[in-house]
Every structure is written in structure tokens, then in C-alpha cells.
């Protein structure tokens, strides 16, 4: 049992932190970046590609760096610290993770290669209006026609959907099950309507009107399990990203309490405020512990698919709950300034809120865990 990063991982952290801090140390830069589509900085994205971050979890054969969930978590935490709007989580971890899991050799080389080099943005069009964090598709249907496949229906919200070069789309298969398909974002029969998500990142409604698409991996295969696993992988990274954001929101709040006065008294003399800051610290540390552990579970070749899935639910449930608390309290402890778009802390809250609803909130995942609570006596993190 060891929670320390090795030297390579520490170097990765320093490199990612350096790149992201250089870009976003001035919060006004982030605010400007998310003001207009695509909601992130293409130059920073390219530099992330150069640093190998966009291919981090993929095999070298697929054009990646061959790193694992712990390295992904390291980068995610740095993303969270500056709430960088670059779509590392949704494009690289979630969509890339799914392609790596089910794509053919050629598809992996092409899609992951393009993603890793920063040349091609991929997005997963999976969520459907009215559906709640399920791993199946119903609103978009796939039909075989003329020896190929056509997709019809609506996906929404699709993170970075309007900007993506390549879409990975889940769709109900004619004989049941949920298949995965890929097509270009500007293909015929694809209509995209993009907008701003709460944290300034972008999402979209995408309408498919008989759009021609290529099966990802083996045609006709039910990929619901792979979709669920990819989301669980994203949850572990998201938990670490949330921890990074919470950590800085807490530091910002502590700094504010330390430097400001009210009624002629430094805010840090108001014990009712400092005790709440202490409770935030507790929440962040507990979330951090589960997030680190879940990354280790994902990285350990000896764990089962079910263990990895449960670990993801655990880590994300804790991060979701902590993120809500930290997001709400960080604003309240600041007062009015925390409500403004100009000051950073409210945007951290907005980002934590966005993550929460992207991947299912704490209540959703605790419900998942509750279903199996009778199957074990104690929970032992050491196995």
C-alpha cells in the first residue's frame, strides 16, 4: 500500500502543471477562453498533444504513451486545479477510452492517433434527452441499409459535440442491444446545435437523420458493458479532477478569509467561518483518498471488472458529495464576490456542478452501491 507518486509520475505532474498554469494562472484568460466557441484553447490543446497528454492512456501501438489510470488521474488533478476548459476528460479519457476498448486495430490507430496528435477532436454522443446516466441507447436507432449503417434520432447533451471532428455514437441495434458507431461531425444527415455548459465548456444537441456511420469494433455487437466501463474510467479521472478543483477553491477561500476584514475584524477571526473551512478540508481529503485508491484499483491488473466499477462509483460518489459542499460553501464564505464571473471561485463551483451532472451525482451512485450492500460484511480497501 503506497500512495506516493513515483519519479516519472511526479515529473508528469510538474510538466502538466507548468503548461496549464502558464496558460491559466491569470483567471481572466480562462474567462476569455470560454467566452466563445469552442470553449477551449486550441494552442494549449496542441501543447498538451506535444507533451503526450492526449495519448496518455493509449498503447504505443495505438499512437499513445502507454500510461495508466494513475497517470490520467495526475493530469486530471492538474486540469481541475486551474479548471482548464480543454476537454481532456470527455475527449481523451471517456471517448478515447471507449475507442481503445472496442475499436478495431485500424480504428484505434486512426481515431486515437488523431486524438493523441491533437489533430482530430473526438466526442462521445451517448446521452439522450430524458435518459439518466444509463449505458444503453434508445433515442438514436441504427439500421442496416445498402450494406452499411444509418443512424436516426437525437443525442443531447453531447459534450463538445458541435466542435468535434469525429463522433462516436451509441445507438439501439435492430436486434436489441446498444451498438457503437463512428462518423465525421460534418457528415450529411448530422445537424448540430451547440451551446455553453455551466462551466463554460461546450455541449450540443445532435440530430441524426439517416446519417451513414461505421460500426466501432465488431458490427452488431452490444457494447453497453464497454460504455459503462468507459464512463467508470471517466468517473475515476473526474474524481481526481474534482479534487484538484476543490483543493484550489478551498485554498482560494482560505486566502480570502486570511486577507479580508469585516466590521474592522479579519474574517479569519470569525470562528463560524474558519470551522466551516476546516470541514471543507476534511471533505477534500476524504474525497482525495478514495479517488487515489480508485485509480490504483483501475491500474491494478489483478482487479475484476466489477471491482473496478464499484471503485469508480465509490470514488465519484464521494467526490460528487464533497464537490457540492465545497462549491456551495466556497461561494458563501466569500460572500457577494463569489457570485461574480470575474472572480474565480464561482467558476470552480460551476465546474464542479457540471462534472456532477455529466457522470451521475452522488445519490445516483450511492443507489448503485446500496443495491449490493447486503453482499458483503465489511469493505476492505486492502482486499
Amino acid at each position: 500500500m503506497d500512495f506516493e507518486l513515483d519519479e516519472e509520475q511526479q515529473a508528469l505532474r510538474e510538466a502538466a502543471r507548468g503548461l496549464l498554469r502558464k496558460r491559466y494562472a491569470d483567471f481572466e484568460t480562462r474567462r476569455g477562453t470560454v467566452a466563445d466557441a469552442p470553449g477551449f484553447d486550441r494552442d494549449t490543446w496542441s501543447k498538451m498533444a506535444e507533451m503526450g497528454l492526449l495519448g496518455l492512456p493509449f498503447t504505443e501501438d495505438d499512437g499513445g504513451m502507454g500510461a495508466g489510470p494513475v497517470e490520467v488521474a495526475v493530469v486530471a488533478e492538474e486540469i481541475g486545479r486551474v479548471i482548464a476548459p480543454e476537454p481532456f476528460l470527455t475527449s481523451v479519457v471517456l471517448t478515447g477510452g471507449l475507442v481503445a476498448a472496442v475499436g478495431t486495430t485500424e480504428q484505434r490507430a486512426e481515431l486515437l492517433g488523431g486524438l493523441a496528435s491533437g489533430e482530430s477532436l473526438v466526442a462521445l454522443a451517448h446521452a439522450e434527452p430524458g435518459a439518466r446516466w444509463v449505458s444503453t441507447a434508445a433515442g438514436v436507432r441504427a439500421e442496416e441499409a445498402d450494406g452499411g449503417w444509418r443512424l436516426t434520432g437525437v443525442k443531447e447533451p453531447v459534450p463538445q459535440g458541435a466542435e468535434a471532428d469525429v463522433l462516436v455514437v451509441s445507438a439501439a441495434l435492430p436486434d436489441g442491444g446498444t451498438g457503437l458507431f463512428t462518423l465525421a461531425g460534418d457528415d450529411d444527415g448530422v445537424t448540430r446545435s451547440g451551446y455553453r455548459a455551466p462551466d463554460g465548456s461546450r455541449a450540443a444537441r445532435i440530430t441524426f437523420d439517416g446519417a451513414v456511420a461505421t460500426p466501432l469494433g465488431e458490427a452488431g455487437q452490444d457494447q453497453a458493458t464497454a460504455i459503462a466501463a468507459a464512463h467508470d474510467g471517466a468517473r475515476v479521472a473526474a474524481a481526481q479532477q474534482a479534487v484538484g478543483a476543490m483543493q484550489v477553491a478551498l485554498e482560494t477561500t482560505a486566502g480570502y478569509l486570511n486577507s479580508r476584514e469585516q466590521f474592522g475584524v479579519p474574517l479569519k477571526r470569525f470562528q463560524a467561518l474558519t470551522f466551516r473551512a476546516a470541514d471543507l478540508y476534511v471533505a477534500v481529503e476524504l474525497a482525495r483518498s478514495l479517488a487515489l485508491w480508485a485509480a490504483m484499483v483501475q491500474a491494478d491488473p489483478g482487479t475484476s471488472a466489477e471491482e473496478r466499477s464499484t471503485a469508480a462509483a465509490r470514488a465519484w460518489a464521494q467526490a460528487s458529495k464533497a464537490g457540492r459542499l465545497v462549491g456551495q460553501e466556497a461561494i458563501q464564505l466569500h460572500g457577494g464576490i463569489g457570485m461574480t464571473a470575474e472572480y474565480s471561485v464561482g467558476s470552480y463551483t460551476a465546474h464542479l456542478t457540471t462534472l456532477d451532472h455529466l457522470l451521475g451525482d452522488a445519490r445516483h451512485h450511492l443507489g448503485r452501491l446500496a443495491a449490493s450492500v447486503g453482499d458483503h460484511a465489511e469493505v476492505d480497501p486492502l482486499g
Partner: protein
């Protein structure tokens, strides 16, 4: 003790309910129902509809349009408005500066200002808060210096809600820097078209523009625009803020949103049924309903016992708990929206997600202010601990 309303109060309530649901513009009410943003015109027109029926300023002196209602009737009026999705009369006019002028103003000021204030022929803004002062209002630094009969005002106000639409602004200014901070403050009414007044928007985290900074640079204000005596502004401010706290628990509106949340949950698929069938969602709603009912009954206890003019000690509970529940219900709505809560700034973009889901996150983020503005919940706890518990 008696559970029921008297027959007269029951009839009063029914009459209001009819008025609000038939005489107020349906488009305005639909916007409120969908949690949309009202335009200036919608706010003004609704206010005028109410004023024409004598329902905009019932708590003012009868001479200036008031109705001399019992506290219970004022409560019913307020609740029924919220229930019917009618935006309440513009608070800056009806609840804030109007009563101040009626109480502290000269006869000239009353005649000049009260009728256009009642009818929003003047759209008032509030100029109290300043940057860096937070809840410590009395530490304000905007200064007014005499120049003959006039005052020259310099300084900066902030968190001026809807200041972009304001015609006039009522301000607290420092007229004497040499005395205890509360003792050197005066209240000035300032025409916002005066040279030297500049309104700058503040973007909030919900992406909206509802508050502003207001800058004063050598703004000349006639002496006749001072309300009450020089250096007596803190008295007017306390009076105004005391009024602000009455009816400050938005119980009616929160109840309405909670009822809507049930409809939305019932229309959302989850597992084999709907989200309303999910026992965790149902219990969460049941608990919120119970908390809201306890708060509403507490509000009724407060009005029932404030007939003699003394505020009931429990009134400080209303702002604190009212905003907590308002926020809790807004959080519930985001959770009901689920992934749909990501559709935040759809604006004119096409979306298949319902409007309420798209408005859920902006509303949730916007309502973080409810426990900060108008006397933060920390200030309310301080009042309860100090005034009621003697701590």
C-alpha cells in the same frame, strides 16, 4: 387557537386568487413558471396592473395608496401572488424607498415621489452596498460634500440589482467622516441621468446580468433630495432593512417550484418507472414539503403575532430558513434534470431538453446569492444568537 381562516379572510383570498390568475398577463406568468427572465417591460406592466387594482403598495399609508390590511392579509396577498406566478411589485419601489419616503420624507418629497414610485413611473435602484464592505454596511465610503445647497457625491456602489434599468437611485452616503461610522451617514436620492453617474454591469456565474456597479464622479445632487436630517441615514437604512426582512421568506414561490418539481420528476423515466417513484426522490420531496410547511406556519405565527406592531422574535428565522429551502429546492430541480442540467446557455440554440431543465443550473447557481444578499445567513444567525438567545 384556530386552524381555519375567517370567512372574510377566506373570501379575501379567493378574490386575490381570481385577480392574480385572470388579470395578470399570462405571458408574464408563464415566464415565471418556466423560471425564465422577465424583461423590464414585463416587470413594469405587471406592477402597474397591480397598482391600478390597488394591489401594488397595500402596506403604504392609506393616504398614499395603502390598504390598512391585517398582517395576515398582507401575508395572504404575498403568498397568493407567488402561487399564481405573479412577479411581486418592484421591491425597490414598493418595499424599500416608498415606505422610507412615506415615513421620513418631507411633504414635498412625498408629493413628488410617492405617486410615481407606486406606479413605477420612476424605476428605483438601491445604492447601499460597497465593494469590500460585505455585510458591514456602515463602513461605506461614498462621500457627499456640501457645495452651497447641493451635495457633490463621489464613490462607488456595487451589487445594484437591475441598476441598468434604474431611473433614480436611493443611496447611503457619508456626510460626516469624523464621527462613529453609523453617525455620519445620510440618505440621498439621485437621478441616474445626472452627469457623473456611470452604471457598469457585473456578470454573475449564471451568465446573467442582474447586478451592477454604480460609480459616482463629482455628481451634483440638489439638497432637497436628502431624505430626513443630515447624518440620520442610518436610521432610514435600518428601517428599510427591517422592512426588507418581512415577507422575505419566499415560501409561496418555493412551494410552487417544489410542486412543479414533482411534475417534472413524474415525467422523467427512471428504472422501470418515473423519478417520482424513486423512494429516495420521494422522501427528499416529502422532507422538503414538511420543512416548507413548518416554515410557512412559522411565517403565519409571526404575522399572527405582529398585529401590535412589534416584530415577533421568530421572524429572523424566516430569511435564514427560507433561503436555505429555496436553495435546497433549486438543487432538487437540478438533480431531477440530471444530465439535462448541462444544457445551460442554450439561448437561441435548438434543444430537445425541456426549458425547466435548461434553466435548472442557472437558477441553482443564481440562488447561491439568496443566502448572501439582503443580510447574509451569517448575519441572521448573529441576530438570532444575539437578540434572541442573548449570546
Amino acid at each position: 387557537m384556530r386552524l381555519q381562516l375567517s370567512e372574510e379572510d377566506e373570501a379575501f383570498r379567493a378574490e386575490l386568487r381570481t385577480f392574480f390568475t385572470t388579470e395578470v398577463d399570462e405571458g408574464v406568468r408563464a415566464t415565471v413558471r418556466d423560471r425564465g427572465e422577465l424583461t423590464k417591460e414585463q416587470i413594469v406592466e405587471t406592477h402597474r396592473t397591480l397598482n391600478a387594482a390597488g394591489l401594488a403598495v397595500p402596506h403604504w399609508p392609506v393616504e398614499w395608496g395603502g390598504k390598512d390590511w391585517s398582517p395576515l392579509r398582507r401575508h395572504l396577498w404575498h403568498e397568493e401572488m407567488q402561487r399564481a406566478c405573479v412577479p411581486p411589485p418592484l421591491a425597490f419601489n414598493a418595499s424599500m424607498i416608498g415606505p422610507v419616503i412615506a415615513t421620513f420624507g418631507s411633504q414635498e418629497q412625498k408629493e413628488r415621489f410617492l405617486p410615481p414610485t407606486a406606479n413605477v413611473d420612476i424605476f428605483w435602484s438601491q445604492g447601499f452596498s460597497e465593494p469590500g464592505a460585505g455585510s458591514d454596511l456602515a463602513s461605506l465610503r461614498t462621500a457627499a460634500v456640501r457645495d452651497g445647497d447641493d451635495w457633490i457625491v463621489n464613490g462607488q456602489k456595487t451589487w445594484t440589482t437591475l441598476g441598468q434599468w434604474g431611473d433614480w437611485i436611493f443611496t447611503l452616503v457619508r456626510t460626516n467622516p469624523d464621527v462613529k461610522k453609523q453617525a455620519g451617514i445620510s440618505m440621498l436620492l439621485i437621478d441616474m441621468r445626472s452627469p457623473g453617474v456611470e452604471v457598469r454591469p457585473i456578470e454573475l456565474i449564471d451568465g446573467g446580468h442582474e447586478v451592477n456597479e454604480v460609480w459616482f464622479t463629482d455628481v451634483r445632487v440638489p439638497g432637497e433630495n436628502l431624505v430626513g436630517d443630515v447624518d440620520s441615514g442610518w436610521t432610514q437604512a435600518k428601517f428599510l432593512l427591517g422592512n426588507e426582512r418581512v415577507g422575505v421568506a419566499p415560501v409561496g414561490a418555493t412551494k410552487r417550484v417544489l410542486a412543479q418539481a414533482k411534475e417534472w420528476a413524474a415525467a422523467t423515466r427512471s428504472g422501470d418507472g418515473t423519478l417520482l417513484d424513486d423512494p429516495h426522490v420521494a422522501v427528499r420531496i416529502a422532507e422538503l414539503e414538511n420543512e416548507l410547511m413548518a416554515l410557512e406556519l412559522t411565517a403565519l405565527r409571526v404575522v399572527a403575532n405582529s398585529a401590535d406592531g412589534k416584530p415577533h422574535p421568530a421572524s429572523s428565522v424566516l430569511k435564514l430558513r427560507g433561503t436555505e429551502l429555496q436553495q435546497a429546492v433549486s438543487e432538487l430541480v437540478v438533480d431531477v434534470a440530471g444530465p439535462g442540467a448541462l444544457a445551460f446557455g442554450t439561448g437561441d440554440a435548438d434543444s430537445d431538453l425541456p426549458v425547466w431543465a435548461r434553466r435548472s443550473t442557472p437558477t441553482y447557481l443564481n440562488l447561491r446569492k439568496a443566502s448572501i444578499y439582503g443580510g447574509s445567513n451569517e448575519v441572521q444567525r448573529q441576530i438570532i444568537a444575539g437578540t434572541i438567545l442573548g449570546l
